[in-house]
Amino acid sequence: MTEPDRKFEEEIRRALYAAGDLVVPAGDGLNKIRERAARQPPAPGWFAARVARLPRQLARGAGVAASEIAATTRGYSSLGPLRASVRRWPGQARHALRTPGMWLRPALATAAALLLVIGVTLSIPRLRATVGAQLDSAFGNSSGHSPGGALGGHMPSSGSHRASAPVSCRQQYETWEHGPVQDSMGSLRAVLKTIPADRKSGNAAGVRSGMRELVPAALGLASHPLPPCVDPAGLYDTFVTRVYTAGSGARSAKAAGAVLRAAASLNQVTKLGRQLAAEINRVLAKN
């Protein structure tokens, strides 16, 4: 795009903003919406349409049933083969049970494969921890919704002695660190590395696209909170919120200057990240 094109686009943008700013909606919009929504008929249009079509569909169904009954009495029913195959099922099942050769081998093969998979899963510690965490969340011990709950937040399991063996703070942290949070953390690290370079070189487009990555990264981090024992001061929550705020600020920014200003707030995010890392190291050194 040439320089005059860019200038023309800027001119249009400015004119539209100026024209848009002149429009001030009345303040009672929400009340009007509520009133009109309350006045809406309870039955939605599709329901009324279905009801209107119901008699015709019932008549058609009755017609089909009547013709089927007539065909059955005459011995020409289209359901004949289906009924015959249903009648054959018990005989087939008995035959299969009497000849184990038909099912024993596949059953044994399936069981062996299942045992092999379970064995491999339990022999790799990281995989075991991940499966444990998944089981925890599947059975309602979800960390995303009850951090610091009755069990003290995360309780990473280790196979069969999940309930009996107490899990140390370091183990909880390692499970978290090697868990699904890795992806969000990796993308955040990459963004925090590239944005300062883009900012220095004045690459506003690069900064904007980098900043846009922050919101999904923050949401990813928020859904996998740090075990409370590692972060008693709750620095992680503040960190995630700051990341999110920086990203959403850039997402809603219209001018390049606003994006660069939002990017400047990343310095504080980095600083807070360092504080958090120091806090985690301090807590883990005690344990």
């Binding site: 539209l16 909606p25 929504a37 928020a222 919120t241």
Partner: protein, 183 residues
């Protein structure tokens, strides 16, 4: 408030609403965050503030009615935008028919609302914009006023990204031609 809930509220401000929210809560939050911008968008499309408000309110009511059927609550704002653009288009289409069949004389005494329309018309760019075909105007307003990406414009207008590109390019060149002619 826990961090996740804080983020959910902020996300709503950006147009995506948690699936567990009821229609009333979602509408209230989206209204607070987006009503004014949507009215301005509609006003730029239909050139009439009262009609613009009507259009946006109808879009909110439609979303309220179909909230349970909304498959992806993350796209609540996108749904609203699309609804506003479609309804604005219908209003313009209806207005053409009404103007053709029953021409109404302009009101003699300008009201406050009329004042806002006059102010809107004062901008040469906005004036020129209204001489463009509807699709080109929509593409330009969504691109330069709403700052949407090509994909978002395509979703709001219900057309392909390629069509957005061509409408925007044609709209820009027509707008330039109209403005140069006036100068």
């Amino acid at each position: 408030m826990h961090v996740i809930e804080t983020l959910a509220v902020s996300e709503a401000a950006l147009g995506s609403v948690p699936a567990q929210w009821d229609a009333e809560r979602a509408i209230t939050t989206l209204y607070g965050a987006h009503y004014r911008t949507l009215v301005r968008l509609a006003a730029l499309l239909v050139r009439d503030v009262a009609t613009a408000e009507e259009v946006v309110q109808e879009s909110f009511i439609a979303m309220h009615a179909s909230w349970r059927k909304l498959r992806d609550t993350d796209k609540a704002l996108s749904y609203l935008r699309q609804s506003v653009v479609n309804r604005s288009r219908s209003v313009l289409r209806h207005r053409v028919v009404v103007d053709r069949n029953a021409p109404m004389p302009p009101p003699l005494a300008p009201s406050a609302e009329q004042g806002a329309i006059v102010a809107l018309e004062r901008s040469a760019v906005v004036c020129a914009l209204h001489r463009l075909p509807a699709r080109q105007r929509e593409a330009l307003v969504l691109r330069y006023y709403y700052d949407l990406s090509e994909a978002q414009i395509a979703s709001a207008m219900g057309i392909s990204r390629g069509a957005v590109k061509s409408h925007t390019a044609r709209g820009l060149s027509s707008l330039r031609a109209v403005l140069e002619m006036e100068v």
